[in-house]
């Protein structure tokens, strides 16, 4: 397999769900902090509620994220997103593929 084919192969293996920039940033933040309030995620990433909802739903469908209700300020229940074990593994796999692509391009 030549280098161009290698890169093409690696690109085909990229997790398209996580490769979306907004979902990638959501999962990156959850990877660092383990869990985050949806309101916090929205504020940090500058997303609208609708946008955040769409992306979170996709991550939940894939089993990368779980949603819970937790008491927040003034004991009002707030929705919190957790990164699952599967989400963590997929994120690390995506990082490995990205690194492999980068090193293939550099050696070309």
């Amino acid at each position: 397999m030549n280098k161009t084919n290698d890169v093409a192969y690696l690109l085909r293996n990229l997790n398209s769900e996580l490769f979306n920039s907004k979902r990638f940033m959501i999962v990156s933040l959850l990877y660092i902090f383990g869990k985050m309030k949806l309101s916090e995620l929205r504020k940090i990433l500058g997303l609208s509620w609708g946008d955040l909802d769409t992306h979170i739903k996709k991550l939940v469908e894939q089993g990368y994220v779980e949603l819970w209700k937790e008491p927040g300020e003034k004991k009002v229940l707030e929705t919190v997103a957790y990164l699952t074990g599967k989400g963590r593994q997929e994120y690390e796999k995506l990082y490995d593929v990205l690194r492999a692509i980068s090193s293939q391009i550099e050696t070309k």
């Binding site: 490769f19 920039s21 990082y95």
Partner: protein, 220 residues
């Protein structure tokens, strides 16, 4: 924000995320050690003081009650440092058994031997109980079991940067002859030494973990 991540930016972000995660997990582990060490050490100091004042050293019920109450304190002390970690450590059953099993085995063996009519077996039981500081050996075994059940795998996978369970377990195992000796000279002295050494072991493990995490984040 464009729809897909640029590979170069993606690598930078993911690299930072992975680095921070390892740092936070290691520092968290160190804090857990300090929290558990402090809570358990202060608990046993109170128990020994109570046993001394009310002459309860010979009461089996008192010591069994004290042991059972300790199981309530361990999850409580872990909750003192709340932190969500996506690291899969071990199932609740495995976690609980790694802490409870050494105590059950050690105390069942030593008490059965002490209660036997054979003076040789009674002596063996007393030796196993380390002159009343047998809990020190049980905690040591619990720490080492935790290392082999989940810590080793997490470390080998690169999820954590230090092995506090192994460090404190080995430290406590190496110092157990001193506890044994003190315990046979004086039951109070043996237990005070055991508490001191347990705190020291937890402290050493925590400080090594924090140092390793600091050096990791500094890129050393």
């Amino acid at each position: 924000m464009s729809e897909t991540v640029s590979p170069v930016e993606g690598i930078k972000v993911a690299e930072l995320a992975i680095k921070l995660r390892k740092y936070l997990d290691t520092v968290y582990g160190a804090h857990i050690f300090l929290a558990i060490g402090t809570v358990i050490a202060s608990y046993w100091m109170i128990i020994f003081a109570t046993a001394t004042v009310f002459s309860l050293y010979e009461s089996l019920t008192f010591w069994l009650g004290a042991l059972i109450l300790m199981w309530v304190l361990i999850p409580f002390s872990i909750r003192l440092v709340p932190y969500p970690s996506p690291i899969k450590t071990a199932s609740i059953v495995k976690k609980l058994s790694t802490w409870v099993l050494p105590f059950i085995i050690l105390y069942t063996a030593s008490i059965s031997l002490i209660l036997s009519k054979d003076p040789l077996l009674t002596d063996m039981g007393k030796n196993l109980n380390m002159g009343g500081a047998g809990w020190y050996l049980a905690v040591t075994l619990g720490l080492l079991l935790n290392h082999f059940v989940w810590e080793k795998q997490a470390y080998d996978k690169g999820q954590i940067l230090a092995k506090p369970f192994l460090i404190s377990g080995v430290f406590m195992l190496a110092t157990s002859p001193a506890v044994y000796y003190f315990g046979h000279q004086d039951i109070g002295a043996g237990n005070i030494l055991a508490v001191g050494l347990m705190l020291l072991g937890c402290g050493i493990a925590a400080f090594i973990s924090i140092r390793k995490a600091y050096r990791w984040i500094q890129g050393e």
